[in-house]
């Protein structure tokens, strides 16, 4: 099984910490990934709204590069990239669409293109929960976390194939294997406001506020995300959300890879924890002194 890696544009900019922690976690697990040589934009937000054919061609080009690298699957950390890659693959089943894309590209596409999956799925396919638990050096015991997938990861269901579109549970199973307590987070697939953070700031603040509020009410230590834009909206805009909601939030928002990295005992610097707006120090302290924080009567078990 040869895996190609498609980082996506955020990885080189706003979500460098996601990129860093993804690479670190995969390396720690021993998962070999080869970056697609000469990868380009997936045809993200603006392009597919204007012309699916052109945007599809961009995604198809990247899949084709992976095919030429003899990859069996393509992994990407970003749900938006994943959505575009998978949509393109789906649309390419239509011969007319394929012909149109071939016309746009320098060379016709390879007959068979590798399937695009999220890095999360890639990890889960390669390592069962026992294998992941075996890699844990510093269990996340005592941490109560809310998994937040965002709107894109599981939708549309027939394209993304990421479990139940309303209630995906993959992130929970990975982090439970790392020792964390995962709460049932009903808003896990709600909208975070996405790219409306710029034109409709108040709306985005209201949407993120709702998510942060419920997470706070559920008493979690952190919200765990898998999407660069979700992370930015929930983390960077926490003060805007607080202003809109009229309550203060102090909710660390981490990538699941950062938490897995912590559990694997990787250095915080290797996971880009310093890039978070709301510091994760409270989590790390809790992990270092579990007894002090465990107020449950059976606390001595820890």
């Amino acid at each position: 099984m040869k895996i190609a890696y498609y980082p996506g544009c955020s990885a080189t900019g706003s979500s460098a910490d996601y990129e860093k922690s993804t690479q670190a976690v995969c390396a720690a697990l021993g998962m070999q990934m080869e970056e697609i040589r000469g990868w380009s934009c997936c045809g993200s937000t603006p392009a597919h709204a204007v012309d699916t054919q052109l945007s599809g061609a961009l995604s198809a080009r990247n899949l084709d590069l992976a095919a030429r690298q003899k990859a069996d699957m393509v992994l990407t950390p970003c749900p938006s990239c994943l959505s575009n890659l998978r949509h393109a693959a789906k649309r390419l089943e239509n011969p007319e669409f394929r012909a149109g894309v071939n016309e746009l590209l320098d060379e016709p596409l390879s007959e068979k293109l590798p399937e695009a999956l999220s890095v999360m799925q890639g990890i889960a396919r390669a390592y069962d929960t026992d294998a992941i638990a075996a890699r844990v050096r510093k269990p996340l015991a005592g941490l109560k976390l809310a998994a937040y997938y965002g709107c894109l990861m599981s939708r549309p269901h027939e394209v993304m194939d990421f479990g139940d579109p309303e209630n995906p549970t993959l992130m929970e199973s990975l982090l439970t294997a790392c020792g964390a307590e995962m709460v049932d987070f009903p808003l896990k697939t709600e909208c975070c406001g996405a790219s409306y953070g710029i034109p409709e700031r108040a709306m985005t603040a209201r949407l993120t506020g709702r998510i942060l509020h419920l997470a706070t009410m559920l008493g979690v230590d952190a919200v765990v995300v898998a999407c660069p834009l979700c992370q930015m909206n929930l983390d960077l805009r926490q003060q805007q959300a607080a202003k809109e909601a009229g309550v203060a939030f102090s909710m660390p928002v981490l990538y699941y890879t950062q938490l897995m990295g912590i559990a694997f005992g990787l250095a915080p610097s290797a996971l880009g924890l310093d890039k978070l707006c709301v510091s994760a120090d409270s989590l790390l302290r809790k992990l270092d002194q579990p007894a002090a924080y465990s107020k449950a009567p059976e606390g001595d078990k820890a």
Binding site: D164, D184, P186, E190, L214, M217, L218
Partner: protein
């Protein structure tokens, strides 16, 4: 042979897109056809009279009618030719309506196709032989499967008509879903008060034999003479001794047993009686929770039982009953709504089904008629009802309307206000379907007198807000904006599906069922009670969604069919069955091996073994005929030569 061909116009139904005169003209060229005419309505009285007259006048010995589907009028025309002195099997039909005029607009192609269909009917007829039915005795007893309100009605009507009834119920008590309801719409009658007396009648009627906690295991035979195997499930209580005093249920220590009758709201004891008015009022042990049966020690119920009725060793028992016909009244179940992850997928205790809510409302329910929400037992103030959960939803493969949810939701909203006067109910609906007698008036009352807030739109999300409420987020499509309601309790009007195991039972009954498991009636409009299997009738929701009045009506209708069938002492068999040409049979046993009915046996004749068809058991599928390499066993009226004549007519170039 002298064959007459009659082409039906069916008004403009056929003649609109088929040149019937031309078809008749073409038919005159076919071998043995001495007469071909087109008639406006062959099935109408003048049409049938014309056929009869032509048979006499032209000395016809075979008739072809080209009209609608033989599934509709083959029996009609068979009777017509019989009246004129022909054997009823010297008749063939060409379906030029459903298969020609209604599906194509090209008149030339239709006329040509109709001609060919007539031609193959003529070819088949030329190979037809007169067949004689044999008569046999009818066992005037009826099996009714399912003792909900439809089955109860059918049973009582049959029993009153003097017929012996065998009533089989899967659950421990009869009454079905209606017994679980608190009140019924649109009169807000107490359900137990109107059903209870009927249930008692069932128990007391001398013509009714009731098997509760029993299931039909196997059905063999044919109309007039079915043989039924009934599996009586082990209840671990000797019902002959049990008086229903309830001493055992008071003392049983396994108090966390799920209560199926109460729709799993609240627990019960491992030995229990479903509800105070249960019929039969007998105790049943749930073997999965009984401490004696699971852990081998307890035995409390045996100790307290004053009649010594407890028997931990009891086994299932299989009983055979012989009946002449069968009524299926197996009802429905609610679909598994937990597929709706947006409603919490079953993770939130305060999201309940309408039937669970019915138990919360009921005075005999787990909360004794006080509405308490399951999570913390608090009285809810804001209650949201969501309609069409699993109905009219293509995304989960349930495109049909469950029929009665609009009405019972209105009823539940009214009852809620009665129970908790300071409560507020919200109903998210798609359309309100209130098309019964005083139904629309009833929903209006819920809105206008009881202040229920009806919001037209779907709910996209239910989630707990972490402070003890459920946030119900939906859309109001009339205002065109999103709505959020902070609710204490959410009631889902969960869609109806055929009772669990319906397809399995249909296979035993040899009747058809649709893709949702509902049994298929003979004709959707004109034969809603009959099935395509002779002697099997339908009543209630097992045939399709309907409310209580319609279920009762169909129960009575099924009883009328049963009484009609049993008004005769003898029935005639269908002579379209297989028979063996002994001189061709080599006794290889292939037909015996594959006959689905065990209708072929080996017999000895002059020192050699042969296959022989048991005439009353053969159902006429013809599997044996297509299996026998030498064609020694032939299905009458669908012989190799008859089908070959049709094939050869179509394919001869």
């Amino acid at each position: 042979m002298r064959i007459g061909v009659f082409i039906c116009h069916c008004g403009s139904n056929i003649a609109g897109t088929v040149d019937c005169a031309k078809v008749a003209e073409n038919a005159r060229m076919f071998p043995d056809v001495v007469l071909a005419q087109d008639i406006m309505y062959t099935c109408a009285e003048p049409g049938q009279a014309a056929i009869e007259a032509a048979i006499h006048e032209h000395k016809l010995d075979g008739v072809v009618v080209a009209s609608c589907s033989p599934r509709i009028h083959e029996p009609t025309f068979r009777r017509t030719v019989e009246r004129a002195g022909l054997n009823r099997y010297m008749f063939e039909m060409a379906n030029i309506r459903e298969h020609v005029s209604w599906i194509g607009k090209d008149k030339e192609a239709n006329t040509n196709k109709a001609t060919e269909l007539v031609q193959i009917a003529v070819a088949k007829l030329r190979n037809d032989k007169p067949l004689k039915a044999k008569s046999f005795d009818v066992n005037k007893r009826v099996l009714i499967i399912g003792a909900g309100v439809a089955g109860i009605q059918a049973a009582l009507d049959c029993a009153e008509g003097g017929i012996q009834v065998v009533l089989v119920e899967r659950e421990a008590t009869i009454g079905g879903k209606m017994a679980k309801l608190d009140k019924t719409f649109p009169t807000v009658d107490c359900s137990a008060c109107i059903l209870g007396p009927k249930m008692v009648d069932v128990a007391q009627h001398p013509n009714i034999t009731l098997y509760a906690k029993s299931e039909v295991e196997d059905i063999s035979g044919y109309v007039g003479n079915f043989s039924i195997k009934i599996r009586k499930r082990a209840t671990y209580v000797d019902w002959d001794k049990c008086t229903g005093c309830g001493a055992c249920t008071e003392k049983c220590p396994a108090k966390k047993t799920p209560d199926a009758f109460n729709e799993l709201v609240g627990p019960t004891t491992a030995i229990n009686i479903a509800f105070p008015q249960a019929i039969p009022k007998k105790a049943v042990i749930n073997p999965e929770y009984c401490r004696q049966l699971t852990k081998g020690k307890c035995g409390v119920c045996a100790k307290v039982c004053p009649t010594g009725a407890i028997n931990y060793e009891q086994q299932d028992e299989v009983i055979t009953e012989e009946v002449g016909c069968i009524v299926a009244a197996t009802g429905y179940d609610l679909m598994d709504w937990t597929v709706y992850e947006e409603y919490g997928g079953g993770r939130y205790p305060d999201v309940v089904t309408s039937l669970q809510y019915e138990r919360l409302l009921s005075a005999s329910g787990p909360t004794e008629g006080h509405i308490k929400r399951p999570s913390d037992g608090k009285e809810p103030k804001n209650i949201v009802f969501i309609q069409c959960v699993g109905s009219r939803d293509r995304s989960i493969g349930r495109p049909y309307c469950s029929g009665f949810c609009c009405m019972y939701t209105a009823k539940q909203a009214i009852l809620t206000k009665d129970h908790i006067p300071d409560s507020k109910s919200y109903v998210f609906y798609m359309d309100i379907r209130a098309n019964g007698k005083i139904y629309d008036e009833f929903t209006r009352r819920a809105m206008e007198e009881y202040g229920t807030e009806y919001i037209r739109g779907r709910v996209s999300k239910i989630y707990p807000d972490g402070e003890g409420h459920l946030i119900v987020r939906g859309v109001d499509t009339l205002l065109g904006e999103g709505v959020e309601v902070k609710a204490d309790l959410v009631v889902l009007a969960v869609g109806v599906e055929a009772a669990k195991g319906s397809p399995h039972l249909a296979e035993k009954l040899r009747i058809s069922y649709d893709s949702y498991g509902f049994f298929l009636e003979s004709h959707v409009k004109l034969k809603p009670v009959e099935t395509n299997t002779a002697g099997v009738y339908l009543a209630g929701v097992c045939q399709g969604v309907k409310d209580i009045p319609a279920s009762v009506a169909q129960g009575s209708a099924a009883a009328a069919k049963v009484l009609g069938l049993f008004s005769r002492d003898k029935l005639e068999n269908d002579p379209q069955i297989a028979s063996v040409d002994m001189k061709r049979c080599v006794d290889c046993g292939k037909c015996i091996r594959c006959c689905p009915f065990g209708a072929i046996k080996e017999v000895e004749f002059r020192g050699k073994m042969y296959a022989q068809v048991i005439e009353t058991v053969c159902q006429g599928c013809g599997l044996c005929t297509s299996t026998c390499p030498q064609g020694a066993i032939q299905l009458s009226h669908a012989t190799d030569n008859q089908i070959l004549a049709e094939v050869n007519t179509l394919c001869q170039c």
